[in-house]
C-alpha cells in the first residue's frame, strides 16, 4: 500500500486562488477522500478584479466567484464558508475553527494568504483604505465618486490599477511613491518609465515622495507629504504598499516561518503533514512570488505531493496587470543590459503593441509586453524549453515568434 492510498482526509485552510486550486487539483488527480475547504468568505472569489472591473462597478461578487457554488457540491468538496481557523495542531492533524468545531485530517494545507501592509501613518479610519478583500473594495468604491480627491500611497501594480480605475470613475488622483520609477525591477527601466508616465497622461498627479502623516479630519484626510510646507486634503486614501504573509496560525503551531511559512519544493512545511500554498508560503531561499498564477501552481504542486503524483512542470513566473485600457504582461526575469544580458525591443516602447525581452546569450530569460500577450506566451515557451534565439529575429515584428519555437 502506498502512502497516498492511506490519505483519506484533507483540510485546506483559506479560500483564495491557492486554496481553491489545491482542492480542484486534488479531485482532478483522482483523490476520492474527504475534502474540506475553509473560506473566510461564504464563496471564494477571485482577487485580481478587486482593483479593476469589480472596483469600477462592472462586475458583481457572483461574477468574480472562483467557482460557482454548485461546483463544490459536484466535486464533493465540503465548503465551510464564513469561518477562519483559530488553531492548528499538526501532530494531531487538527484544525480548530472560529465557530468552535475541530476538524481532523491526514493532511492540512495552509492557504491563509496575506494581508495588506498598514504603515503606521496615523489612525486607520473610515477614509483610509487598504485593498485586499472584497469588503475593502466595496468601502473604497463608495468614495470613488466624480470629483472625489483620492491619495494613493504606493505606485506598484495595485496602486497603478486603482489610479486607473479611479480616473475612470471621475476621481481626482494623487499617486505617491518614493521611487521615481516604480516597477523598474519587474519590467525594466524603459518600460517602467513609460508605464509610470501614463499616470500623468491620464491626469494623475504622480509624485516622487513619501507620506509622513495622515490625519482624519471632519472633511476627510489631511496628508503631510515629505518636503511640502503644508498638508493636502483628500476625501480618501489608499495604502497600497505591499503584502504581509498571514503566518500567525503556522507560527503558533510551531511551524518554521520567515517572511512566509517555509516550504520545500513540494509545498511541505517543517511539519510533514502540513503543507502551505500561495501568498502565505515561501519556498526556502526564494522570495515570495505574490502573483496569481504562482499561487495556482502552488496548489497544483501541493495536490501532487499529497497524492504522490507527478508535480506540474516548472515554468517561468507569469503575471498580468491592466491600466488605462492597456494590458501588461510579464514572464521570467527582466535584467538591465550588462556583459551577460541584452535588452531586445520588438516594436517601439510606448507604442502598443510592443514587447521587450531580456536575453542571456541566446536564451530568453524574461519578457514584458503591452497589448502583445502572445509575445509573452512565446517568450514563456522559449524560457521553459530553453530555445536558442537570435536577437535580430526577436526584434523584427515581421518574425513569427511561433516559428522560432519550432526550429
Amino acid at each position: 500500500m502506498t502512502v497516498s492510498s492511506v490519505i483519506s482526509s484533507v483540510v485546506v485552510v483559506g479560500g483564495g486562488i491557492a486554496g481553491v486550486s489545491t482542492v480542484a487539483e486534488l479531485r482532478k488527480k483522482g483523490y476520492v477522500g474527504d475534502l474540506t475547504l475553509l473560506s473566510a468568505d461564504p464563496v471564494p472569489y477571485d482577487r485580481p478584479p478587486l482593483s479593476k472591473e469589480y472596483l469600477a462597478g462592472g462586475r458583481d461578487l457572483d461574477s468574480i466567484a472562483l467557482q460557482a457554488p454548485e461546483w463544490y457540491v459536484d466535486q464533493r468538496i465540503s465548503l465551510v464558508g464564513g469561518v477562519v481557523a483559530v488553531a492548528l495542531r499538526p501532530d494531531a492533524g487538527e484544525v480548530e475553527l472560529s465557530d468552535g468545531r475541530v476538524l481532523t485530517a491526514d493532511r492540512i494545507v495552509l492557504a491563509t494568504g496575506g494581508r495588506a501592509v498598514r504603515p503606521s501613518l496615523g489612525e486607520i479610519g473610515s477614509a483610509i483604505h487598504v485593498l485586499r478583500e472584497v469588503g475593502d473594495a466595496d468601502r473604497l468604491r463608495t468614495q470613488l465618486v466624480p470629483g472625489a480627491r483620492l491619495l494613493i500611497v504606493g505606485a506598484g501594480l495595485i496602486g497603478a490599477e486603482v489610479a486607473s480605475t479611479a480616473r475612470k470613475l471621475g476621481a481626482e488622483v494623487v499617486l505617491v511613491d518614493p521611487l521615481p520609477v516604480p516597477l523598474a525591477a519587474a519590467v525594466g527601466i524603459e518600460v517602467a518609465t513609460w508605464l509610470h508616465g501614463l499616470h500623468a497622461d491620464h491626469g494623475v498627479g504622480a509624485l516622487t515622495t513619501t507620506v509622513e502623516t495622515l490625519l482624519e479630519t471632519p472633511a476627510g484626510v489631511a496628508a503631510q507629504l515629505t518636503g511640502e510646507p503644508g498638508s493636502r486634503e483628500f476625501d480618501a486614501v489608499l495604502l497600497a504598499v505591499g503584502l504581509v504573509p498571514e503566518t500567525a496560525l503556522a507560527e503558533a503551531a510551531g511551524l518554521e516561518t520567515s517572511r512566509g511559512i517555509l516550504v520545500d519544493a513540494g509545498q511541505v512545511t517543517s511539519h510533514p503533514s502540513v503543507l502551505a500554498v500561495g501568498d502565505c508560503a515561501r519556498l526556502r531561499d526564494h522570495p515570495r512570488a505574490e502573483h496569481w498564477e504562482a499561487a495556482q501552481l502552488d496548489g497544483a504542486r501541493a495536490a501532487a505531493t499529497i497524492l504522490e503524483a507527478e508535480p506540474p512542470p516548472t515554468t517561468a513566473s507569469w503575471w498580468w496587470s491592466d491600466r488605462y485600457g492597456l494590458h501588461v504582461e510579464g514572464v521570467g526575469e527582466m535584467r538591465s543590459p550588462d556583459a551577460e544580458h541584452q535588452t531586445v525591443v520588438r516594436g517601439v516602447v510606448g507604442e502598443p503593441p510592443f514587447s521587450v525581452f531580456t536575453l542571456r546569450g541566446e536564451r530568453v530569460i524574461g519578457a514584458v509586453a503591452v497589448d502583445d500577450p502572445n509575445a509573452v506566451r512565446a517568450a514563456r515557451r522559449m524560457i521553459d524549453r530553453g530555445v536558442d534565439v537570435r536577437a535580430s529575429d526577436l526584434a523584427d515584428p515581421g518574425t513569427d515568434l511561433r516559428k522560432l519555437l519550432r526550429r
Binding site: D46, P48, E293, W318, W320, P373, N374, A378
Partner: protein, 115 residues
C-alpha cells in the same frame, strides 16, 4: 435544412490562418449570438469555438493555439479546441464548439453543429 446551410458557410481559405493562430468570424455572418473563432492548431487542423472567453471579454481568435488547446490572450485560461471544455482558471465555464470542414483549401463553418 437549406442547401447553403447544409454545406456550411465558407469563411476563409485555410492558408489565411497561420498554424497556431485564429480569426474571428462576425456573428453577422454566423447568425450566432457570439462571434465564432476559427482556430488552426499547430498540426494544421481547423476548429471553431465561440470567440468570447467565458471569463471576461477577450477574443479567443487572438489566443495562443497549441496542442489541441487555445489559451486566452488575457488571463491564459485554456479551452479544448474540439470540445470547448475549459481547463484552468480564471474561466470556469466551458465554451461552445462548432463544426468546421476544410474542402479544397476552403474552411466551411457549420454554426451550432457539434464537431
Amino acid at each position: 435544412m437549406d442547401t447553403a446551410k447544409s454545406q456550411g458557410i465558407r469563411v476563409a481559405s485555410v492558408d489565411d490562418i497561420p498554424e497556431g493562430e485564429g480569426i474571428a468570424i462576425s456573428s453577422d455572418i454566423t447568425g450566432t449570438e457570439d462571434d465564432i473563432a476559427i482556430l488552426r492548431d499547430d498540426d494544421g487542423t481547423c476548429w471553431a469555438l465561440n470567440d468570447t472567453c467565458t471569463h471576461e471579454t477577450a477574443s479567443l481568435a487572438e489566443g495562443w493555439v497549441e496542442d489541441g488547446d487555445v489559451e486566452c490572450p488575457l488571463h491564459s485560461s485554456r479551452f479544448n479546441l474540439k470540445t470547448g471544455k475549459v481547463d484552468g482558471l480564471p474561466a470556469t465555464r466551458d465554451t461552445v464548439p462548432h463544426r468546421v470542414e476544410v474542402r479544397d483549401g476552403e474552411v466551411y463553418l457549420f454554426p451550432g453543429e457539434r464537431p
